[in-house]
């Protein structure tokens, strides 16, 4: 499959990048999916998500904005007052190997280390993993294939093959690091033509499969912040996949726990790959707080997680199985994070 033709823009500074975006992005202000997918410009960092999609003609932009020369968007910078700032262009293998992150934010290094395969982690970036396009077996296919299925809501069509009759797109968010980042209460910085804003990552995702993130076509994610308060939790990330490498998660669970006096002081649980967005499991923190983790408690948490999950036939393995695995993996992850 050939790549569609496009012009490659290579800004050297963030300001230049924002200018390019403002100049070439069509449909500014529109937030519906059609405007997003027909946007005139796409951003490339590692390219591990975009390039295959462009070959499949999921995106045929006139311009591709290559961020890789912007040095200011790269690197892990511990902040004087505690916390850390991670440039959006920092590669997943850099994060995986960072001693600082491993020591203070281990759930993130663990999640980063499970993404795809080593070569892809050398290219893929944290910003790209956060912005990862949602995936579905009916969507991540070639143009010829999609013509055969009659297209779908997410691209070129008006039908959902996963939940026929519905008008909602259920493509699953399949990033590994966002559930870890949600557990760490991460914030992200978004740069646009008029302002630079900072939002909680939790507010970044919409929960829709097609228009899955709150990012205008003229904006880009520049930095990730992990607060000082989230440091030094015990963190564990586990994912279900068929192969031990390469595969996207079919279900993923991140758990962080801070202990005090042998009990859980503070904890958070997040899941991925079973909804159109990565989600914090509501009620899990409250249920864990102040308790000693045992099998029964871990099972109660896993029930909560399973209720939050809404896996559909967007990927391999059956939805019912993946829901069951959210249960199993949550229990295991909670127990592991609690040190039991």
């Amino acid at each position: 499959l050939s790549l569609p033709q496009f012009k490659l823009l290579r800004p050297r500074t963030l300001a230049e990048a924002v200018d390019f975006l403002a100049k070439h992005s069509a449909g500014v202000g529109a937030s519906d999916s059609s405007a997003q997918s027909s946007a005139n410009i796409r951003i490339i960092a590692g390219g591990t998500d975009l390039i295959p999609s462009m070959r499949q003609k999921l995106f045929e932009p006139d311009y591709v904005l290559d961020l890789r020369s912007i040095a200011e968007m790269r690197g892990i910078k511990p902040q004087p007052g505690g916390g850390v700032e991670i440039g959006a262009l920092t590669t997943l293998s850099t994060i995986e190997k960072s001693q600082f992150l491993r020591q203070h934010y281990s759930v993130l290094t663990e999640a980063a280390a499970t993404v795809a395969s080593p070569v892809l982690r050398n290219m893929g970036t944290i910003g790209g993993n956060i912005c990862l396009d949602t995936r579905c077996l009916w969507y991540n296919q070639s143009l010829t294939w999609r013509k055969g299925c009659g297209f779908c809501i997410k691209k070129d069509g008006d039908l959902c093959h996963v939940a026929p009759g519905g008008a909602k797109c259920w493509a699953a968010f399949s990033g590994d690091t966002p559930p870890a980042l949600l557990c760490l209460k991460a914030e992200i910085e978004i740069a646009g033509p008029s302002e630079v804003r900072r939002i909680a990552l939790n507010d970044f995702y919409t929960g829709l499969g097609d228009d899955y993130r709150k990012l205008q076509p003229n904006e880009l994610v520049t930095r990730v912040f992990l607060p000082a308060a989230s440091a030094d939790y015990r963190g564990v990330y586990r994912k279900l996949r068929v192969r031990g490498s390469i595969d996207y998660p079919l279900a993923g669970v991140a758990v962080v726990i801070k202990r005090s006096n042998g009990h859980v002081g503070d904890a958070r649980v997040a899941i991925t790959a079973v909804n159109p967005a990565p989600l914090l499991v509501k009620g899990a923190s409250e249920m864990l707080a102040g308790k000693a983790v045992d099998d029964a408690l871990a099972e109660a948490i896993s029930d909560l997680a399973a209720r939050t999950a809404k896996p559909l036939t967007t990927s391999a393995l059956t939805p019912e199985y993946r829901r069951e695995m959210i249960r199993v993996f949550t229990k295991r992850t909670v127990l592991a994070a609690a040190g039991n």
């Binding site: 077996l137 013509k147 055969g148 299925c149 939940a163 026929p164 059956t318 939805p319 019912e320």
Partner: protein, 886 residues
């Protein structure tokens, strides 16, 4: 063990074969039996080697194929005018440009280069756009307007067999490609004598080859000097069967075969996926003729999945009876294969499935009913272990269950049913060499079976299974008395040996085997031998690389050709040495009188020549020539001797006979060609390979995930001509079998392949690859070249049941459907525990489809999907088509 052998290989390589000649190798051979690097290894590992897609010609165009979006539809009209006018498009090829039918089997000529009136699967070939670039061809493809009339489609073989209307091929009632009904011995009586009888349905889902190199073909016509029209055709193609390709091209293009030259460049794996004529090979040639320019077509990975020809989804209803002493009294198998939309090798596949019930164990009574069914999916064909793999999975699983029923060790029940060769089985298969007893013995010993079986921790288990395969089919596809392999050898004046063989190197080591056999027979060093292979203008006919026939058949032809030419050398040398030709021994670049011990000084002289010859510099080579010349002169003066160098003998022979050439061919003996019953031609082979494997697995009882820790795989290959190559083939077979056992499955929904790519079609990664301990067993076949048999297919079939049996040993669940995905394993575990049943077919969303993986299902295609949702108008007005030249 693996590591040790690899080391031996490396060190002998490093020594460049010069020092190793001093060490006498096993069994008195000097070339074979030694771990030898592939002759094309340097090209491949440095990237210098050229595969078809690496080739280009001046003025070459690219072709892109437009595929059907419907599983079953009539083509009412094709209008290519918009595409034709698109800037950069040279031609658009459609079905009527080459309407002759073809197919790999003479009974199955049901394919066309491009669809004439009907499309039969999503991905069927409709038109081909020839343009100056990939991007332009892809864009123009969207401008070919095709009007379809959608027909009901059939996805499940058992449903398809009931079809009375809208048949996939009009001449195949009930969509039945072929059915066979065999009974050997007295099955009813056999079951009556049994103490235990088990009956069950097994399902093996569809898998594909997933060779690294996608198919690619480059076709080019020469202008005929007399007519100015396209004349001779040259085709470079990634194929296992250059001669079949030449034949089918001649049928479709209506050209004599002599006007067509097929060349096989390096091929990046075939596994059966390139063992017949694949649509793009014909399309490229037709396109080159129409566009009047060379045309190259390379499949995308998705197109490789559509071209397919893989292992069909197979439903096996199996019944086996055994006595208390473990002996099998009867087997009855009803096999239904979901063959896809075209015949391909289907008739052969369904026959192999029945025939290879025999020749592994001694089974007195066999009943077999095989149905090859057409469905609206890509055609299935031959894949590593053609026809035997799925039935073997069922059989070995059931044998394990029967062993448990009668309280016998699974290894022992297999030992109780051994054949007593030489013999002819009840279904007419001749077995001569039979290494199965040793295979079982060795795997049992190495795996610590007796000490460890049943004593491993919870969730961990051992399983054993056996398998076998043909060393080439005794009867070729095209019925004729033609030899299956012919090899020519030419020897130059300086002792360079050129072997011309039609056998196709596809990565399996065919060229290396040929060089080894030639060098061993001629008693010369391997470095002297150059193999020219698979070029229909240069090399004599060979029917190709499939059914594991090359070592046995092309190997025998090479051996005979080498002996033929050796006879001439011997005659000349004998004259010089004043002795009878029969008294000469050819070995290590020397021709000497039998019984004469070459003194050290002679060895050193010979060594000296060799060393100089090995010098890489041109001057070194020239010096070597001079040295050789003077040595020859000197020796001439000295008169007859006890020995001559190989080169001296060659020079003597050329002086005596003129050109020094030899030829040899091989046809399987009449006795090995099988019984007279209908379909009895498939299954017979001059020799069978044997395999026994023990797998050690663990099962996560919460998730159903299976991990294979280690596989001990013994394989009887007759004689290992190249031990590292044999080990590589065993390891590769186990790995590929493990893929089918655990992760690989083509998933269908309404005729759409849900996983047409290497991301979603999950071949195991290096993380899942277990340690494999290959164990070579040598039974020395009386008819194989130096006793060799096949080694690349027979092992695969044992891996799947070995893993299934190990899972049973680990957690006590019997899996009847492959692959053993976590959900299937977990469902079985839950069912066993009577725990909450895990419903595998229903989503939690009430609006979700009623059935996930309606693989087959009972649903006929009722226009759901494509028809309900016509091409999106937005897509038509997208910039891509707006830029079109209309």
């Amino acid at each position: 063990v693996k590591r040790r052998c690899m080391l031996t290989a490396d060190s002998s390589l490093a020594r460049n074969g010069k020092t190793s000649r001093k060490t006498r190798m096993n069994n008195g051979f000097s070339i074979i039996g030694k771990p030898t690097a592939m002759v094309d290894a340097a090209e491949k590992t440095t990237g210098a080697g050229k595969y078809t897609d690496d080739l280009s010609l001046p003025g070459m165009l690219v072709g892109k194929i437009l595929h059907s979006p419907y599983p079953h539809a009539r083509i009412k009209r094709i209008n290519a005018s918009r595409a034709d006018k698109f800037d950069g498009v040279v031609a658009v090829v459609v079905g009527k440009d080459a309407p002759n039918p073809y197919g790999i089997l003479p009974v199955g000529h049901d394919e066309h280069a491009l669809a004439l009136d009907k499309v039969r699967y999503v991905g069927d070939n409709v038109a081909c756009v020839v343009a100056v670039s990939d991007a332009i061809a892809e864009k123009a493809m969207e401008l070919v307007d095709v009007e379809y009339e959608v027909l009901p489609a059939y996805f499940d073989p058992e449903e398809s067999m009931k079809a009375e209307t809208d048949l996939i091929h009009d001449n195949k009632p009930n969509n039945l490609e072929k059915d066979y009904h065999h009974a050997f011995g007295d099955p009813d009586k056999g079951f009556a004598e049994a103490d235990q009888v088990l009956e069950a349905r097994f399902i093996a889902n569809e898998v594909t080859h997933a060779a690294m190199e996608p198919h690619s073909t480059l076709a080019s016509f020469e202008i005929d000097p007399h007519t100015g029209k396209p004349g001779r055709l040259t085709v470079w193609s990634s194929t296992q069967v250059p001669y079949y390709l030449q034949h089918k091209l001649s049928l479709v293009l209506e050209m004599p075969m002599q006007q067509i030259r097929v060349i096989k460049p390096l091929v990046g794996g075939g596994f059966g996926g390139k063992s017949e004529v694949i649509p793009l090979e014909i399309i490229a040639a037709v396109a080159a003729r129409k566009a009047k320019a060379p045309v190259k077509i390379t499949y995308t990975r998705e197109e490789v999945f559509w071209a397919h020809r893989g292992r069909p989804r197979t439903i096996i209803d199996l019944k086996t009876g055994v006595k208390k002493d473990g002996s099998i009294t009867a087997v009855r198998a009803r096999v239904v294969q979901d063959g896809g939309a075209y015949c391909s090798y289907g008739v052969v596949t369904i026959l192999y499935s029945g025939a290879l019930l025999g020749a592994l164990y001694d089974i007195p009574n066999i009943k077999y009913d095989g149905y090859r069914v057409l469905t609206n999916k890509p055609a299935c064909g031959a894949m590593r272990g053609h026809g035997t793999v799925n039935v073997r999975f069922a059989f070995e699983s059931q044998l394990d269950e029967l062993a448990a029923k009668i309280g016998m060790d699974p290894a022992e029940i297999r030992q109780r049913n051994l054949l007593q060769p030489p013999c002819i089985t009840v279904n007419g298969l001749r077995v001569q060499s039979y290494g199965l007893p040793e295979c079982i013995e060795k795997t049992v010993e190495r795996s610590g079976w007796k000490q460890r079986k049943g004593k491993l921790p919870k969730g961990r288990g051992l399983g054993i299974a056996c398998s076998h395969y043909v060393s080439g089919a005794a009867n070729s596809i095209i019925r004729s008395d033609m030899p299956h392999s012919t090899v020519n050898i030419k020897i130059d004046r300086d002792g360079g040996v050129v072997v011309y063989t039609g056998a196709s190197e596809i990565g399996q080591g065919s060229d290396t085997m040929t060089a080894q056999v030639a060098a061993e027979t001629l008693g010369c060093s391997l470095a002297r031998v150059r193999v020219i292979a698979a070029d229909t203008d240069l090399t004599p006919i060979d029917i190709g690389s499939y059914s594991s026939r090359v070592t046995f058949m092309a190997g025998n032809a090479t051996l005979r050709a080498a002996e033929d030419v050796k006879k001439r050398i011997a005659a000349a040398a004998a004259k010089k040495m004043n002795c009878a030709a029969e008294d000469l021994v050819f070995r290590e670049d020397l021709v000497s009188k039998k019984g004469s011990v070459a003194p050290a000084v002679k060895r050193d002289q010979a060594e000296e020549v060799e060393v100089t010859q090995a010098g890489a510099s041109v001057s070194g080579r020239v010096e070597g020539q001079i040295l050789r010349g003077s040595l020859q002169q000197k020796r001439k003066e000295e008169g007859p001797k006890e020995w001559m160098t190989f080169e001296e003998a060659v020079v003597a022979a050329i002086d005596f006979h003129g050109a020094l050439t030899g030829t040899g061919s091989y046809a399987p003996p009449q006795e090995a060609r099988g019984g007279k019953h209908k379909g009895g031609g498939v299954g017979p082979s001059p020799a069978y390979s044997y395999s026994a494997q023990v797998a050690e697995v663990s099962v996560d009882e919460d998730t159903g995930e299976v991990t294979v820790h280690k596989v001990w795989a013994a394989h009887d290959c007759g004689r290992a001509l190249n031990p590292v190559s044999v080990e590589g083939q065993i390891i590769g077979s186990v790995w590929m079998g493990m893929g089918q056992a655990l992760t690989e499955e083509m998933v269908w929904k309404d005729g759409m392949l849900m996983n047409p790519g290497m991301l979603e079609y999950r071949s195991p990664s290096s993380v899942e690859s277990p340690e494999v301990e290959p164990i070579i067993v040598e039974s020395i076949d009386p008819e194989g070249p130096f006793g060799a048999k096949e080694c690349s297919e027979g092992s695969l079939a044992a891996t799947i049941p070995a893993i299934a049996n190990a899972i049973y040993d680990a957690v006590g669940v019997r899996l009847h459907e492959s692959p053993f995905t976590p959900e299937r394993v977990l469902a079985a575990l839950r069912a066993k525990k009577n725990a909450k049943v895990l419903n595998l077919t229903e989503g939690i969303d009430p609006t979700a489809p009623a059935r996930f993986r309606e693989h087959g299902g009972a649903l006929c295609f009722k226009g759901k999907g494509p028809e309900r949702h016509a091409l999106d108008p937005a897509r038509r007005e997208s910039p891509a088509s707006a830029g079109g030249g209309d």
